[in-house]
Symmetry: C2
Subunit: 959 residues, 2 copies
């Protein structure tokens, strides 16, 4: 085994040459100091961190060989390398459109949210009481989408527009109990949306029929839905009313994909009669980022609420009767419904949804309309110029995109001329180009394009554009965004304060460890984040020519190689923009592999019952039949059940999905045996890489038997969670699967897509690349070792007080461990969820509650927490244990005690009346160091039942 970490020297200095830079992230990323490491090892009862790792990670699975890795960079050198790569990208003026638009992120929002760890290091707001700020902002997002689309219900974001379209297709399909298998799609739809629809239709047995909408056979009994892009891919605004009318007549569901900026001028889809509307909020302040991340959205008429995929924020009351937000109707979701869930979506795009809703808050309805009008004036002017100089328009009615049939010049020639002016325009066919304007368009842009169209300089300002939409039947008749929040914070001072007010309601990593098992809430360092708001990375359109993205491509190559080497894989796709999308991509890759061998019957996927809910949900979406495999009480796979199921399904076995270390936080000794058994029976192994943070440098999934894994870059590789996204979930594969990866087939007949953009959420992949280059391979290995150390340290400290479940060999855990809370229930009424709430009173964020075991807490401290932080957290848990003991011993009352009543917002402990069976001090300051605490729950315990019964998921319009 590779005992190469010397806890005395892992911090800077000792074994370094004097020349080397000292600004290594390495010892900043890892929490414990060398001295602390020694103390922790001692408490755990091992001589060193390496002894611990040796005793924890099964020796026969340990990585034996070394890998080549690019040199480790100091922070300054990393920034220089980032600049070099950024400068290798070429930022052209982008008039490509296609659902991605340059825009102006208001600097106040950039600083206050996108660059602010108080926002971006938040976790998904499952702990509602210390997440009211982001819940309010997501509620604003839902309101904004409802208002713009004219529909009653919106979720809190999806991954992008094409996947949202696919989700909508899934809703239509499910609505008719999967009996109606045809989904009609208007041909004037973005190619990447079509590709996604086809990809996702295939495993479900849906036929995507692409036609001009006028040809839609809506009377056919096998049609579940009809999909129209509005405005269309070529910019044209068609009259959708006849289609909708006919669909309604025949009970066919109607879906539109639309553009939120266009909708400030165009009649709302809901008003037109669409059932569902999807789209992207990217142009509301989010950089194009060579494809993402940005918030996809889905909205539907109110009756859809229990069928809508993704997270939905709802309003409810708290225990004191005050209004409070929380995630609503969670029973739709994969973490509860598993294979029966509406969708596999888990990580979404919360941070970007917040940016976009804040953009709307900042501009308000009038500001948004002005932006839209200006864009529309510009495109009208361009259209006017084009026709004046002899070209023809593909459509007279458009919003921002003008499709021009060129006269006397080929599209290629025009595109090339534009490129000389550092402008990208879209070639639609040999003689047609499209120009899509956005809010950044300038007079100089128009003048250049006018000159190119005319073949000679002409006076572009002479164009007197009129607002074509305003005077048309397409003009919006309905008001929108009348709510106070969209009409209040229009000065920068007000905006800054609003963002801060919300931020300060929420616990993020800037205040507290967030030791969420399976979520790896580690440091997202400031240096790693710097490309995110660098225009050289931000302002690249995903469909810009690759020659303009050379910096990105070089970075991706390097990054893929690093992660493949770390994980023992041969190839990688960056396409999936979340872990769940990675699962879907991986399983579909496996299917394509089987299919390619003529093995077309293989559709069974064995999944241990302890698996994350996304696993079975993804299997279903990949057209597989998930088969549960039992686990032993220690969380390991039940060999007997596994063998039985394997035997039973061996002819149709497609894959096994397994999480390693297990979702119980244990390194199973026998993992390779199971992999072998699957292989022997013709299946492939999908190893869920969510727990990769326990393995980097220690175990290589590709070497222990797995064929494909996703890596949650937002866990192991330091992309911040952003309060529920962004994520990025690339998949690594062994060589046999490589030809079947999504992007390998791009442009072929077998084209298939997992996300809209060629490389997924490129902008955030820069973070993970930076992390790897800053840590180096030894640093990355140490990150895993310290993740294991920190978990075992906490476990050792808590073991005397709590029942620990499922440790591995030698009784150590991997990078996370589970506390069983069942013992308290009978005598005290206290459950894991109550302890989670009580932690809020200690200013702390709870661990994962009741997953993978009910009434348990799963703790994953990560390597980034220091010993004092871990001790503080343990002290709090021990103190809560003592509070439970007070109840057990009858010193505190069952039903009226500091835990059952938790959390205690400030308003309660400051109230003039105090009628609890304990003191204010016991409620608010149970430990002395809490006296100065800054984070308080801002509401009392939220009432989920009330909220789900009395659903409110957006702010009502101002009447």
């Amino acid at each position: 085994s590779s005992n190469d970490t010397n806890p005395d020297s892992f911090h800077r200095g000792e074994d370094m040459r004097w020349q080397e830079p000292l600004d290594r992230l390495y010892h900043r990323h890892i929490g414990p100091s060398p001295e602390e490491t020694m103390d922790m090892a001692e408490l755990i009862g091992v001589a060193s961190i390496d002894e611990l790792v040796d005793m924890t990670v099964p020796a026969h699975l340990r990585t034996q060989t070394d890998i080549e890795f690019p040199p480790t960079l100091g922070e300054r050198a990393l920034l220089e390398e980032m600049k070099r790569l950024g400068d290798k990208n070429q930022v052209f003026r982008s008039f490509l459109g296609l659902g991605y638009h340059d825009n102006q992120l208001p600097p106040v929002i950039q600083r206050a949210i996108l660059e602010n760890p108080g926002w971006y290091t938040q976790y998904t707001p499952y702990q509602a009481e210390i997440a009211q700020g982001r819940l309010e902002s997501l509620f604003n997002f839902q309101t904004m989408i409802c208002e713009l689309t004219g529909l009653g219900i919106s979720n809190a974001s999806l991954l992008d527009e094409p996947t949202a379209a696919a989700e909508a297709m899934g809703m239509c399909f499910a609505h008719f109990r999967k009996k109606k298998t045809v989904f009609l799609v208007d041909e004037n739809t973005h190619t990447h949306t079509l590709s996604l629809l086809r990809t996702r239709a295939k495993p479900l047995g849906i036929e995507v029929r692409v036609q001009p909408m006028s040809d839609f056979d809506l009377a056919a009994t096998d049609v579940c839905g009809a999909f129209v892009q509005y405005p269309g891919a070529n910019g044209a605004i068609a009259d959708v009313s006849p289609t909708i009318a006919r669909a309604k007549e025949h009970g066919v569901l109607t879906v539109c994909a639309s553009d939120p900026l266009a909708l400030t001028l165009l009649e709302a889809p809901g008003t037109l009669g669409f059932d569902i509307c999807v789209g992207s909020a990217q142009r509301f302040g989010v950089p194009m980022g060579y494809g993402g991340p940005h918030a996809g959205f889905i909205a539907a008429t109110s009756d859809w609420v229990r069928k809508l995929p993704g997270r939905i924020v709802g309003q409810t009351l708290d225990a004191d009767g005050n209004p409070a937000y929380r995630l609503a109707l969670q029973t739709r979701e994969q973490h509860i419904r598993r294979s029966k869930a509406v969708s596999n979506i888990c990580t979404a795009q919360a941070l970007l949804a917040n940016v976009s809703s804040m953009y709307a808050v900042y501009h308000g309805p009038q500001g948004l309309s002005e932006i839209a009008n200006r864009v529309h004036h510009y495109s009208s002017a361009l259209a006017g110029i084009a026709t004046a100089v002899g070209h023809t328009l593909e459509s007279e009615m458009f919003f921002d995109t003008v499709a021009i049939k060129l006269n006397g010049i080929s599209a290629d020639a025009f595109v090339a001329m534009a490129a000389e002016h550092e402008m990208n325009v879209f070639k639609a066919d040999e003689h047609t180009i499209r120009v899509a304007f956005d809010e950044t368009v300038t007079e100089a842009d128009l003048a250049t394009l006018a000159e190119l169209l005319a073949g000679t300089p002409i006076d572009a300002t002479a164009a007197s554009p009129h607002n074509r939409i305003e005077t048309s039947t397409h003009a919006r008749s309905t008001e929108f965004l009348t709510q106070e929040v969209f009409n209040t914070y229009h000065s920068e001072t007000e905006m800054m304060r609003y963002c801060k007010k919300l931020e300060n309601k929420d616990i993020s990593l800037v205040h507290s460890p967030i030791p969420l098992g399976s979520c790896t809430m580690k440091l997202n360092s400031a240096v790693e984040m710097q490309a995110v708001t660098n225009p050289q990375f931000g302002n690249i359109h995903p469909f810009a020519p690759e020659s303009q993205a050379q910096g990105y491509l070089e970075m991706f190559d390097e990054f893929k190689k690093m992660v493949c080497d770390i994980a023992g894989y041969d190839d990688m796709s960056l396409h999936p923009n979340s872990g769940a999308q990675g699962e879907l991509a991986g399983l579909m890759t496996i299917r394509r592999y089987h299919d390619s061998r003529g093995d077309t019957k293989r559709n069974v996927c064995l999944i241990p019952v302890s698996a994350h809910g996304t696993n079975p949900a993804s299997a279903v979406m990949a057209g597989m039949v998930p088969v549960d495999v039992k686990v032993d009480p220690d969380g390991t796979i039940n060999l007997h059940d596994f063998s039985t199921k394997l035997e039973k399904h061996k002819d149709t076995l497609a894959a096994m999905m397994v999480t390693y270390p297990s979702t119980f936080g244990v390194f199973e000794e026998d993992i390779s045996m199971y992999c072998d058994m699957v292989h022997d029976n013709g299946g492939q192994v999908y190893l869920d890489g969510a727990n990769m943070n326990a393995q980097v440098g220690l175990v290589r999934p590709g070497h222990i038997g797995a064929d494909v894994s996703h890596f949650n870059l937002h866990k192991t590789f330091c992309i911040p969670h952003g309060g529920g996204g962004p994520g990025q979930g690339p998949i690594g594969v062994k060589s046999q699967l490589s030809p079947f990866l999504p992007e390998q087939t791009r442009g072929t007949a077998d084209e298939w897509d997992i996300s809209g953009a060629p490389h997924g959420s490129s902008l955030v992949t820069t973070i993970s690349w930076a992390y790897c280059r800053l840590m180096g391979k030894d640093g990355l290995t140490d990150a895993s070792k310290f993740a294991i150390l920190n978990a075992n340290y906490m476990m050792a400290r808590l073991a005397p007080h709590f029942k620990i479940r499922f440790t591995g060999t030698n009784n150590f855990c991997a990078h996370e461990f589970i506390i069983d809370c069942n013992e308290f229930k009978a005598s005290t009424g206290i459950e894991a969820g109550d302890i989670a709430k009580r932690l809020q009173d200690y200013g702390l964020h709870a661990p994962t509650v009741s997953w993978p075991l009910t009434n348990a807490l799963m703790i994953e401290p990560t390597e980034s927490e220091s010993k004092p932080a871990l001790d503080m957290y343990c002290d709090a848990l021990v103190s809560i244990r003592n509070e439970i003991r007070e109840i057990e011993q009858g010193k505190a009352m069952v039903g009226d005690n500091v835990i059952t009543n938790a959390p205690h917002p400030m308003s309660r402990v400051i109230a003039d009346d105090w009628h609890k069976s304990y003191t204010r001090t016991q409620a608010a300051y149970p430990l002395e160091w809490l006296r100065g605490k800054q984070m308080w729950p801002t509401v009392a315990r939220v009432n989920d039942v009330y909220g789900d019964k009395n659903l409110v998921t957006s702010i009502p319009p101002r009447s």
Copy 2:
């Protein structure tokens, strides 16, 4: 008059061409919306904002002519222009040294502090209870300086090293009651420090005698102090002990200028016996920024504490007996002692001091030593190479700077060769260069320099440097930075949380209006701040060749022209890095003007008693005799007293200093008459531009009679206050004074300097430039109009409740107004200061307390506050007025009431015991909207008297 603001159209849109960008800062910077503006005008009783302005600003003083102004830019266009100018600067590797060093600002500190409005929009911590965070950080700064210098007392920053040296000289001079007039200065001192010492010595009648320190005649009875730079300007570390010993023998005070990084290796100045040590903390994480801002420091033996210039943070107890920080010993300072103050310093460098102390917190003593050692290894290696290839060293003992007498090549040729490699080295004389390394030095740098020295590529890594200091008598023997705070927050996570913890204790503009009269706490917009952390601006050395600073110079030219035009001046110097420095510069410019005409007797400066304390203090430093002029009860100059004094001093009259609008917030009608009278008697008029925010676009100082003004860019022109600095105080002058401006004389025999760097704090001037370009001339005018509107609106709302003092013509105020609190004292015991404390319970920052009138509040809301914010603030004040009424009416107790006991920290209202004569709710939530308040004072009222009696101004070393 120019009634050009249409309140309906000032917001975007109506009068704009459709082509124009919509991302104008204009309507984001100004708080009130058009609708709000109408409502406010109505309440004030005017038909429009223009009517108000017409009635407020005397018509005969109003600007009549238009100016040329560069085009107004949208936010995106501004960023593009900023990038263009930044790219015009050339960032070379900087080995110039001279007290300015490249360094690595830890990205976590960049994001958490330098780019975070929660830190940079703070005001000077006069309201200690809501400023404990930054007070703690400044206390850390003082501790850091004490520890590194080995001296007992440090202040909380000065403006830069040269001015700190001048302050130290002033201390020596004052110590001997100005009787000993010679100040000895070792010749091995930075040229710009020498220049500053000479500049500041001249008006005081001090002779600066520059010699080798071995020649110092310390026995001479007229010597007050001896100054040594350690290490010297050429890098040499001399043996200072003999000089110190002789000085002590003769009772001469000793001052050293030193380098905090060097001091981690070198014996501490205090240990060596120096009385005073000055220097710059720039290299602790602050960008060079073409000269500033960064924190100068001054430390001295403990007995100096009552004589040290600048703000000093001290620890004390609060009303509940808990430890608390606050500004100590304010009676030394100009705002109390005026002409008898220790110095004129007011705005200092708090933000940069905080960055530097956080840098030390982040690295700790070991990390700092490692950085220093690495630098020293590099310089030793270079020295070894230089001698190995036949050059000679000027000194064998150095820290980071190697002075090399070149063999076979001239210094010019070497400098030119280095420039080809984009490296700046310093030419000391025809045959000597100096190379100063810093923490960013790389192996590649060394290799390049080695090759240049050798004339051929050589193996630089072969150099085996030894630590020369360590084995020398100069090695530091004393421990430093043993305090817990410097040994705890070394992981990024811990650092991020520490910064956040402190931030969240303090009120800044992100939470509350800070309507400080005379301080103009307006929006510092995110877009304006972007150059500050852009390396193309940050990494330019102030003494880099001008060819490398073309972007800066273009920007400065444009900026000077804009401000000169606005203010009616002909020329401008950017040299002064604070308002007070501007006063000093302006008065010295006037003196030089008089001198140039042979008018050498003119030394009297008439100053109204209502003037800011810096005015008389600056006059004294300029060698003038300040003569008080009485003011009438309404704050205007008393004509009789003025005429009498004028008559009396007419032969020696140098200048009048006057603030306009007056410090009472009134546009005096007769200002031009006073100016004429001064001119008629041979004097010049200094118009203190602190209140320029009431005048931009409305009144031009240069047209109403003034000859020179400083502009506090940190007020009118949007540089953030940073919790007490940075500032920037350029002066505009009429043409007759132009030849006498500081930089005009640079390089001549008459060279004189106001700050160390050629253009003052260049990096922050970028903010003011951006503000002007974003607002345009109409926008800037509107800013002043809305500043006047907002002030008059608040005054109108408060007038029914409080006694308003000193309104102008038509009973309007300018941009600020004064509430007289004397009426409450007798019956309730309440004073203005109590109201200020009570405002903290409302989550608000107090107005200016007891200046310019005692027991009064001066309110300046600025244009950036919206009507709701103003209303909230007024509601709070009215509510406090009602609380006072309760006492007046006997319903609340004198001595035990919500105001006298204010502020109420959370710990108090949550305590189990409550024995006040009012309820917790009355204490904490006097108004309903306070229920969710986020900002609380973190301590009870601080006890100034206790703290000044029991002085603690740094953290004791850990024993």
